[in-house]
Symmetry: C2
DNA sequence: GTGTTTGCAAAGTGTTTGCAATTTA
DNA sequence: TAAATTGCAAACACTTTGCAAACAC
């Protein structure tokens, strides 16, 4: 998928644009990670997880850079962070309005299908505040 | 509120019962923590937080025991755990069905008033699973 | 060249664990 | 007395940081 080094310019034209638009320099590491994240189906990754993918893909990148990139991407609106349990933070490449199933048994996170709409009446936020986002996590477990 | 030591027996009759019912021995530490948690208004505490309260109330208890107790209380259904951000886990003494405002600016957690009902249409859980719980966190921030 | 980004290893944070000593029943 | 619980300190997982070297523009 990714060759291995130095080919920063050519083949990722669209990723380069995407990063630029987000105000991030298209470095080799960011491009490689962006490629893992955004080329293909939507994903829910955690840092360690993406780091492993990178290694497997012969991408030389440090764990610290993975963390930094994930946060930069999130701030730039390219990713959405979902926290489901202490020490279990996912980054979702699907940034459209949607919610999640969290499987308590194996810790996996899955989008709730769009057509299975959860109709929410938004509550009135406390005086002086406004709603930034609504997170709905439907915790599921195996039927015994 | 709590005197200071050794008076495990008498004055916490109802707490003792509550713990016994939950299958937990009413030790001095658990009684003291239960007293902080369950006598008075509903609270959203984190471990560190409750530990500080204990110290302030001259209750001799270790941080490890606070963690253990919080989890035991949660398993026993006396508390409900709410995770809002990586490394930010709250325990809610209100175990009725309800949801939360999470204030992004200061990290505080507040119950959404009961009468401000969020009507959810529950999604169909994936094959072979059932819904264990639905967590809704409404993230709010100060109006600029 | 200048400012940004990276990698490393070290430091942090929040939480859990192992085990001897203590407490409960 | 037997079994459960506690405290401590060490171990832990996950994440962030400081800084010199490498890179983008």
């Amino acid at each position: 998928m990714i060759e291995s080094g130095r080919d920063t310019g050519r083949q990722f034209a669209s990723l380069v644009k995407q990063l630029r638009r987000a105000g991030l320099r298209p470095t080799r590491q960011r491009l490689a990670l962006a490629s893992l994240l955004f080329e293909g189906d939507n994903r829910h990754v955690c840092a360690e997880n993406l780091f492993d993918d990178a290694q497997a893909g012969n991408i030389r990148v440090s764990l610290a850079t993975v963390y930094n990139s994930l946060h930069q991407f999130t701030e730039a609106g390219l990713l959405r962070e979902v926290t489901v349990a202490p020490g279990r933070s996912y980054f979702d490449t699907n940034i459209t309005d949607h919610h999640h199933f969290y499987h308590e048994d194996d810790g996996s996170l899955v989008d709730i299908p769009d057509d299975d709409v959860i109709s929410t009446h938004l509550p009135v936020p406390p005086e002086g505040t406004k709603i930034a986002r609504v997170d709905i996590v439907v915790r599921i477990e195996s039927k015994k």
